[in-house]
C-alpha cells in the first residue's frame, strides 16, 4: 500500500480524471507553469498541455464565470482558487450562477464543475488568509460541499466530484496538504458524495467533524481510549448534502455528541449538525450537544493568539469530558 501526501492524492485524482475524460480541464492562478501554488497540479501542464491546464490572470470572478460558461456547454471545468479567501471575489459566480443554473433553467443546463482550493487557517497567515468557508457555501441549495480529511478520501472524493453533474465546492484544508496516508495504487477510488465515514468506533460519545478537524477528533479519540473512553468519530466528509443518518445512528448509540469545526460559531456547520441531532435524536440525548469551533474573532497573527483561536485537541477533549459529565 502506497503512502502518499494529501496533495499528491489530489494530483492523482486530477490526473486520472483528466486522462479518463477529455472534457475535464483545470483552470486557475498559477496552476500550469508554476505547477500550482500548493503544487497540487504538479506535472499536469506537461501531460495535458496549456488548453487543459490553464493559467489565468488574477481575476477570480472572471475565470470562475468562464468555468460556469464552459460547464453550460458541456465541459467539466475544475476551477482552482489559490485559496478560498480569494474566492470571495468570485462568490457571485458560485452562488448566483453555478448553484442556480440548473434550477432556473428547469434542468436544461447542468453545472458539471468543481470549485476547489485550500480552505481554513494555516499558520500565522492572519485575518484575511485564515478562514473556513464551508458554512457559507453549504448554505446554498444547488451546491455540494466536500471537505476531505485524509489523502484517501481526498482522492476518492475529488474523483467523484469531477464526475458529478452538479457544481461541487471542494475544500482542501490548507494544513492537510503535507499529511500522509494510505492510498492504494492501481485501484479506482470513488467515494460517494454525501456519505460520512466512521473513523473511530466507540459508544461513549460521538465527535462529529469534517475536514482538518477530523484529525483532531481522531487524536482525541485515541488519547481518551487509553482511559477507557471510547469515542465514535464521524467524519462527515461532505457537509452538503450531509449524512444525517450517520449522525443520528452514532448519537442514538452514544447519547452524547461534540461537534467540531474550523469555522466560526454563528450559523456554522456545527449549528446545522446540532439541529439535525435535536430533530432526529431528541429522546436519545443524555447531555447537551457541545460545539468546538474557531473563536468568534478574525484570526490574529501572533502565534499564541492564533493557537488560542483555533479548535484543538485540548478544547475538544474538554468538551467531551463535559458532555460525559466528567468535570
Amino acid at each position: 500500500m502506497a503512502i502518499v501526501t494529501f496533495r499528491d492524492a489530489l494530483n492523482q485524482a486530477l490526473r486520472e480524471e483528466m486522462q479518463n475524460d477529455d472534457r475535464v480541464f483545470l483552470m486557475g492562478e498559477e496552476v500550469a507553469e508554476y505547477n500550482g501554488a500548493y503544487k497540487v497540479s504538479r506535472g499536469l501542464l506537461d501531460e495535458f498541455g496549456p488548453m487543459r491546464v490553464v493559467d489565468t490572470p488574477i481575476a477570480e470572478l472572471g475565470f470562475a464565470g468562464i468555468g460556469v460558461g464552459a460547464a453550460m456547454v458541456g465541459l467539466r471545468p475544475v476551477i482552482e482558487f489559490m485559496t478560498w479567501n480569494f474566492a470571495l471575489l468570485a462568490i457571485d459566480q458560485v452562488v448566483n450562477a453555478a448553484a442556480k443554473m440548473l434550477y432556473m433553467s428547469n434542468g436544461q443546463f447542468r453545472m458539471p464543475m468543481v470549485f476547489r482550493g485550500p480552505n481554513g487557517a494555516a499558520l500565522q497567515l492572519s485575518a484575511q488568509h485564515s478562514q473556513a468557508w464551508e458554512s457559507w457555501l453549504a448554505h446554498i441549495p444547488g451546491l455540494k460541499v466536500v471537505t476531505p480529511a485524509t489523502p484517501y478520501d481526498a482522492k476518492g472524493l475529488l474523483k467523484s466530484a469531477i464526475r458529478d453533474d452538479n457544481p461541487v465546492v471542494f475544500l482542501e484544508g490548507e494544513m492537510l496538504y503535507n499529511t500522509k496516508g494510505e492510498v492504494p495504487e492501481g485501484e479506482e477510488i470513488l467515494i460517494p458524495l454525501g456519505k460520512a465515514e466512521r473513523k473511530r468506533e466507540g459508544e461513549h460519545c460521538s465527535i462529529i467533524a469534517h475536514g482538518k478537524t477530523v484529525l483532531i477528533a481522531i487524536q482525541v479519540a485515541d488519547a481518551l481510549a487509553k482511559e477507557g473512553i471510547r469515542i465514535d468519530v464521524i467524519d462527515l466528509r461532505t457537509v452538503r448534502p450531509m449524512d444525517v443518518d450517520a449522525i443520528a445512528e452514532s448519537v442514538k448509540k452514544t447519547n452524547r455528541a461534540v461537534v467540531v469545526e474550523e469555522g466560526w460559531e454563528v450559523c456554522g456547520i456545527g449549528a446545522q449538525v446540532v439541529d439535525y441531532i435535536q430533530r432526529e435524536c431528541f429522546d436519545y440525548l443524555d447531555a447537551p450537544v457541545l460545539r468546538v469551533h474557531q473563536a468568534d474573532v478574525p484570526m490574529p497573527y501572533a502565534r499564541n493568539l492564533e493557537r488560542a483561536a483555533k479548535p484543538d485537541a485540548q478544547k475538544v477533549t474538554a468538551a467531551v469530558r463535559k458532555v460525559l459529565y466528567q468535570e
Binding site: 460559531e265 431528541f282 429522546d283 443524555d286 457541545l290 468546538v292 463535559k322 468535570e327
Partner: protein, 482 residues
C-alpha cells in the same frame, strides 16, 4: 451570593407545606444538605435541607405557619452580606418586606402573605419538551416547515439560559454549556432520561440526578431501575438487609414489570356506562368468608418457634394476597384512562390509620418476600406511618391495596378504591363461627374479605376467580411456603 430558601415540594402532590419546626436559628452556620426545618406535607413530615452554604440570615415564616410551594421562607448568606433585596422578597412580593423586618425566631412577627411567591418556576412547570419533528422534516416543504418551526420554538426560559451559556464561553472558541443550576426546583433531566423514565414508570421527582446542576441522566434512571431487579435476584435470603434497603429504588416499576393493554371498544363502553351509572370509579363488591383455622394453626406453630418469629394474621393475609395477585395480574392493575396497566410485580399498599387520617405505605415486591420480611416490613412501615416519618416514595407506587379493620372488631366492610388502582381488599376480623363442616355443625375461625373492584378493569368473574385463589391459599396456607 445569597441562597434563597423556598418551600419545596416534598411530596409529589404537595402544594403547600406547614413549617413544623425550625432546626436552625438565625445566625447559625449552615452547609448544603443541613436540615433547616421540618415541614409537614400533605402526607408526612419531611426535612427541608439547605441548598447553599453560609449563615442562616433570615427566617421569614414561623413554626406552625404554612407556605405554598415556591415561597421564600428563609435566606442563607454570608455573615455580612446585604440581603435586604432578597429578604424583602424582591419585586414579586410587595407584601414581603414587612415580613422581613426585624424578624426574630419564635417572635410573633407578621407571617408572609400567600401571594408573596417569588418569581420562579413551580415544581411542575418544567419546560415542555420540544416536539420531535417527523423524520422527513428536513425535506418538508416550506409551509410545513414554518409550522414545524413554530412547534419547535424554544420555551422562553430555555432561551434565556442558552443565551447566557453562549456568551459565557464563546470567547474560548468552544460553546460549552455551563450546566449551572437554575433557580427553583424544576426537575432537570436529559431527554433520554425522560424517555427512559416514562418507559419504565419512574418518577423523576424521586431521583437525585448525578449530572450538572442535579440533572437526571440515563445512568441515574438505569441505576434506579436496576436496584429492584437486583433485589429480586437476591431472593429471600437477603431479606433482612433488604427490609431497610433504599426504598426509593424499590418502588420503581420498569418496562417489563407490567403490560399495557389498549382498551377494546367493549371495554370502553363498559367503562363509560358504568361510570355514568355509579360515579367516577364504578365499583362493585365481592365478599367471601374464609376459613382461617389452618392459618391460625400455622401462626401458632410459627410463634412457638420464638418471639422473633411472631407474625400476625394480617401478615399472612398480605402474603396470600401477594401470591394470589401474582397469579391474577388482571386484578393487580391500574386504570389509566386510555388503557389498563397489568403489573407483573406486586406492590401492596397497606392502609394504616394515623392520628388524623390514613396513609398507605407500600410493601414492594411483596410476592417475592417471605413471611418474615413482610411481617417486619409491615410493622416498620406502620410505625413510621404513625410517626409521620414516611418518605413519599414509601407511600406511592402500590399496584393493589389491602385494608384491615379486624383489630377494631369489624366483621365486614367495604373499602374505597385508591385510584388508579383497580381493586382493594377489605379484611375483617377473625372470629369463631358455627359453620357446617362435612354436614355437621362445627366451630371454626372465620374471616370475611371484600374485594372492591373497578368494573372498568375487573369484571365480576375476574374478581371472583381472584378470591377463589385467595381462598385456596388462605385455607391451605402451606401453599404460601410451597
Amino acid at each position: 451570593m445569597a441562597t434563597k430558601v423556598v418551600m419545596e415540594a416534598l411530596s409529589p402532590t404537595m402544594e403547600e407545606g406547614r413549617l413544623v419546626k425550625w432546626n436552625k436559628n438565625e445566625g447559625d452556620a449552615v452547609k448544603t444538605g443541613d436540615s433547616l426545618a421540618e415541614v409537614e406535607t400533605d402526607k408526612a413530615i419531611m426535612e427541608l435541607v439547605a441548598r447553599g452554604d453560609g449563615v442562616l440570615r433570615k427566617r421569614l415564616i414561623n413554626e406552625g405557619d404554612s407556605a405554598p410551594v415556591g415561597q421564600l421562607i428563609a435566606v442563607i448568606g454570608t455573615a455580612d452580606e446585604n440581603i435586604d433585596a432578597l429578604a424583602g422578597g424582591g419585586a414579586a412580593a410587595p407584601q414581603a418586606p414587612a415580613a422581613a423586618q426585624e424578624a426574630k425566631p419564635g417572635a410573633g412577627e407578621q407571617p408572609p402573605q400567600e401571594g408573596a411567591v417569588p418569581a420562579g418556576p413551580a415544581p411542575d412547570s418544567a419546560a415542555p419538551p420540544a416536539q420531535e419533528r417527523p423524520r422527513d422534516a428536513r425535506t418538508s416543504v416550506p409551509d410545513d416547515a414554518a409550522q414545524s418551526q413554530g412547534e419547535a420554538s424554544t420555551p422562553p426560559q430555555e432561551r434565556d439560559r442558552r443565551g447566557a451559556e453562549r456568551t459565557s464561553t464563546g470567547s474560548q472558541g468552544a460553546t460549552l454549556g455551563t450546566g449551572s443550576s437554575e433557580p427553583g426546583d424544576r426537575v432537570r433531566s436529559s431527554p433520554l432520561a425522560r424517555k427512559l423514565a416514562s418507559e419504565r414508570g419512574v418518577e423523576l421527582t424521586t431521583i437525585q440526578g448525578s449530572g450538572p446542576g442535579g440533572r437526571i441522566v440515563k445512568k441515574d434512571i438505569e441505576e434506579a431501575a436496576a436496584q429492584p431487579s437486583a433485589a429480586q435476584a437476591q431472593g429471600a435470603q437477603a431479606g433482612k438487609e433488604r427490609a431497610s434497603a433504599a426504598p426509593a429504588a424499590r418502588r420503581i416499576s420498569t418496562e417489563g414489570d407490567y403490560q399495557d393493554i389498549p382498551l377494546t371498544q367493549i371495554r370502553k363502553t363498559i367503562a363509560r356506562r358504568l361510570a355514568e351509572s355509579i360515579g367516577p370509579v364504578p365499583t362493585f363488591y365481592l365478599t367471601a368468608e374464609l376459613d382461617v383455622e389452618r392459618v391460625a394453626e400455622m401462626r401458632d406453630s410459627i410463634i412457638e418457634l420464638g418471639a422473633e418469629y411472631k407474625v400476625s394474621f394480617n401478615d399472612i393475609v398480605l402474603k396470600a394476597v401477594a401470591t394470589a395477585l401474582q397469579q391474577h395480574p388482571e386484578v393487580n392493575a391500574h386504570w389509566l384512562g386510555d388503557k389498563m396497566r397489568y403489573f407483573n410485580r406486586v406492590h401492596i399498599g397497606m392502609a394504616v390509620a394515623v392520628e388524623d387520617g390514613l396513609i398507605t405505605p407500600v410493601i414492594f415486591d411483596a410476592d417475592t418476600k417471605g413471611l418474615a420480611d413482610i411481617s417486619r416490613e409491615s410493622r416498620e412501615l406502620a410505625k413510621r406511618a404513625r410517626d409521620r416519618k414516611l418518605k413519599p416514595d414509601e407511600y406511592t407506587g402500590a399496584t393493589f391495596s389491602v385494608s384491615n379493620l379486624g383489630m377494631f372488631g369489624i366483621e365486614h366492610f367495604t373499602a374505597i378504591i385508591n385510584p388508579p388502582e383497580a381493586a382493594i381488599l377489605a379484611v375483617g376480623g377473625v372470629e369463631e363461627r358455627v359453620v357446617a363442616v362435612d354436614g355437621a355443625p362445627a366451630v371454626r375461625k372465620r374471616m370475611n374479605v371484600t374485594l372492591s373492584c373497578d368494573h372498568r378493569v375487573i369484571d365480576g368473574a375476574t374478581g371472583a376467580k381472584f378470591l377463589q385463589t385467595l381462598r385456596r391459599l388462605i385455607e391451605n396456607p402451606l401453599l404460601l411456603v410451597y
